[in-house]
């Protein structure tokens, strides 16, 4: 005990050196803890992303990413047997169309439904957008049908997406929460619609009011909040059979979402579906998507892991060298201790207490650093790696683009996942909890042990007889 107290006091024997070492160690420990915090935050984000996606498999016709005309589509009869695949619990089908709004005479690039000559609606645009900004976000999917003019109209109305669905509670894998009104039943073939709150307010629609589309009056049964449903912010959701017959595409679907009983069965079900439907159909599951989307986060994890190890080793080397220098400086003192009957262990424990004191002070500085730098550092790492990793990713582009594809039937993204991820993936928040303190203590122990090894090396070599001579 007395030797530990002596070691503690010795840590402050040289004031300036103590301060210098504590700062250097503090930075190294702080850096390693910051990296741990970043790693934890990213880890939490990854599991949150994965669990938010759920156990679904998406099905779309092959080639939906290209903006050339797509001739092959899915049919209800093609999908009829999927429910019989083991572990499949439900099959949701959707048929998506894009419709221009009435009165937008100056818009030459709003899309027309190719299968229906009377594809107009009475809806006005729910949101006025600055087209220029969205052009770039769209990731290359936009071009103008006219070809000659490259000027961008400032007064531009969005086309409206109409989604026919067999399950109004879950659209393309994204569950829909209603703000007002009710869902319609899966088998409904009435002209009912659930619309976004944006659309409702822009067009003065309430639950029970009607609007016109395909020259038919649709009755609004429910309203969902646009803000919570990013990918569906600009859509009207109607029964699948109604959409199929009004757009003249009986038996066709543009996408389907298969629900699987457990996330563990996702890949087996995915391959079973692919086998059933053949290569003309893209079958993907959310896990694959999630893996793609979180891959930049994984690289943050790797970077931070190496940084942790590096910073701890650096801290260990700093304290090791410091203690070797200190012990060498005090060779004579060590010789005296030995000459008057101290065991090596006694002397080592005294010096170990000294190095632990320095390291602990370093840890206090390190924890202050992590409290200040944890969150900014996490954000910096995440934003740097995600901008490098995901811009230009086709899946995002398809969801972000809304104007392109002249002539061809527009197939919108089957699933909201990508878009949701895109907006959330960089929103990683670091939380500094007690476990960080625990890691700090662990770092201190590791570094102190490394330091003590150095001290022991010097101490065991000191021979009292030599020391007594050097006068």
């Amino acid at each position: 005990m007395a030797s530990l107290i002596r070691g503690f006091k010795n840590a402050f024997r040289s004031g300036i050196r103590t301060v210098a070492i504590v700062i250097i160690l503090g930075v190294s420990i702080g850096l390693s803890l910051t990296m741990l915090v970043a790693r934890q935050a990213v880890d939490n984000k990854i599991s949150a992303v994965k669990s938010s996606i759920g156990n679904t498999v998406s099905i779309q016709p092959a080639g939906f990413n290209s903006y050339s005309a797509i001739n092959n589509s899915l049919t209800v009869s093609q999908l009829a047997d999927l429910i019989k695949i083991p572990n499949v619990t439900a099959v949701n089908e959707t048929l998506t169309e894009r419709l221009t709004t009435i009165g937008s005479t100056d818009l030459s690039f709003g899309l027309q439904s190719t299968n229906s000559s009377n594809a107009t609606t009475s809806l006005s645009s729910p949101v006025k957008l600055n087209l220029k900004r969205h052009l770039f976000k769209a990731g290359g999917g936009l071009f103008f049908s006219g070809g000659g003019s490259s000027s961008i109209p400032t007064n531009f109305s969005l086309p409206i997406t109409i989604i026919g669905t067999s399950n109004s509670q879950n659209i393309n894998g994204q569950s829909l929460t209603l703000e007002q009104g009710n869902y319609f039943s899966p088998s409904s073939n009435s002209d009912l619609a659930i619309i976004s709150s944006n659309m409702a307010s822009k067009n003065n629609l309430k639950v029970g009011s009607t609007f016109q589309s395909y020259n038919v009056n649709f009755k609004v049964t429910g309203i969902y909040l646009s803000a919570n449903n990013g990918a569906l912010g600009n859509a009207a959701i109607v029964p699948l059979s109604v959409e199929q017959s009004l757009s003249g595409q009986s038996g066709d679907v543009t996408a389907a979402e298969i629900f699987v009983n457990s996330i563990d069965n996702l890949s087996s079900v995915t391959s079973a579906i692919q086998k059933e439907l053949g290569s003309n159909v893209n079958v993907t599951n959310a896990i694959e998507d999630a893996n793609t989307e979180v891959s930049p986060l994984n690289s943050v994890k790797t970077i931070s892991l190496y940084s942790v190890i590096g910073a701890i080793i650096a801290g260990g080397i700093i304290i090791l060298l410091t203690m070797i220098i200190v012990a060498r400086e005090r060779r004579k003192e060590i010789g005296i201790f030995k000459a008057i009957g101290a065991s090596n262990l006694k002397i080592v424990s005294q010096f170990a207490a000294e190095s632990s004191t320095l390291t602990l002070l370093g840890a206090v500085v390190g924890i202050l650093i992590v409290i200040l730098a944890g969150n900014p550092m996490t954000k910096f790492l995440v934003s740097n790696s995600t901008t490098a990793g995901t811009v230009g990713n086709g899946r995002f582009s398809r969801l972000g683009s809304f104007g392109g594809g002249a002539g061809g039937r527009f197939v919108s993204g089957g699933r909201g996942v990508g878009g949701v991820l895109r907006s959330n993936i960089t929103n990683v928040h670091a939380v500094i909890g007690w476990d960080v303190l625990l890691y700090g203590i662990l770092a201190v122990i590791i570094i102190s042990v490394i330091g003590s090894v150095g001290i022991a090396l010097v101490i065991s070599k000191v021979r009292p007889a030599e020391i007594m001579r050097t006068d």
Partner: protein, 224 residues
Amino acid sequence: MLKVKSLSKEYNSGEHILKAANNISFNVDDGEFVSLVGKSGSGKSTLLLLLGALDKPTSGSIVVDGEDLAKKSDRELVRYRCLKLGYVFQSFYLVPNLTALENAMLPMEFAGLATNERKERAQYILEQVGISGDKINRRPGKLSGGEQQRVAIARALANKPKLILADEPTGNLDSETGKKIFNLLKELSRSENTTIIVATHDNNIAAKTDRKLTIVDGQLKQDK
């Protein structure tokens, strides 16, 4: 108490080998006060370091209380230095950042005594050697040379050793103070029956010991 037989220590300094201790043999009885005299470089310190197990002989044996130092493990040698031996150095060798009291307490800490006991005994011995009052709480730098040597002696006495080895304990002190320190040691050897071996240049001091060993060029020349 002490049996030294054919003890030699060679230093290999480049080309030639120097015999700092050359075939030395002698015995010392319990409670004897022995002086070790010889010119500078004759080998006094060398012999004391060997006796204190602070250095290893090239050949020969040292038997203390029937135990051969050469046959002891490192751990046992630590215990020997700690419990049986008190070593007083020419230049005191106090730990600079510890107070007089803390310095005197050190050997008892290594022996495993409780803090209270250590403090009590250290205060008592310091008083015996003439360090008392606020001086016990001063660091060596704030004590005179004579006071520092007293603290060093108190430290050497801490664990009631049976053998005290003192390497010119008065060499750095004026003759007056030197005499006082010497008398202190002599009194100890009487009252506690402690065996003391003192290396010294000073023939006046040597004359007052029970026995005088004279060393010339590493060899024991005279024993009387």
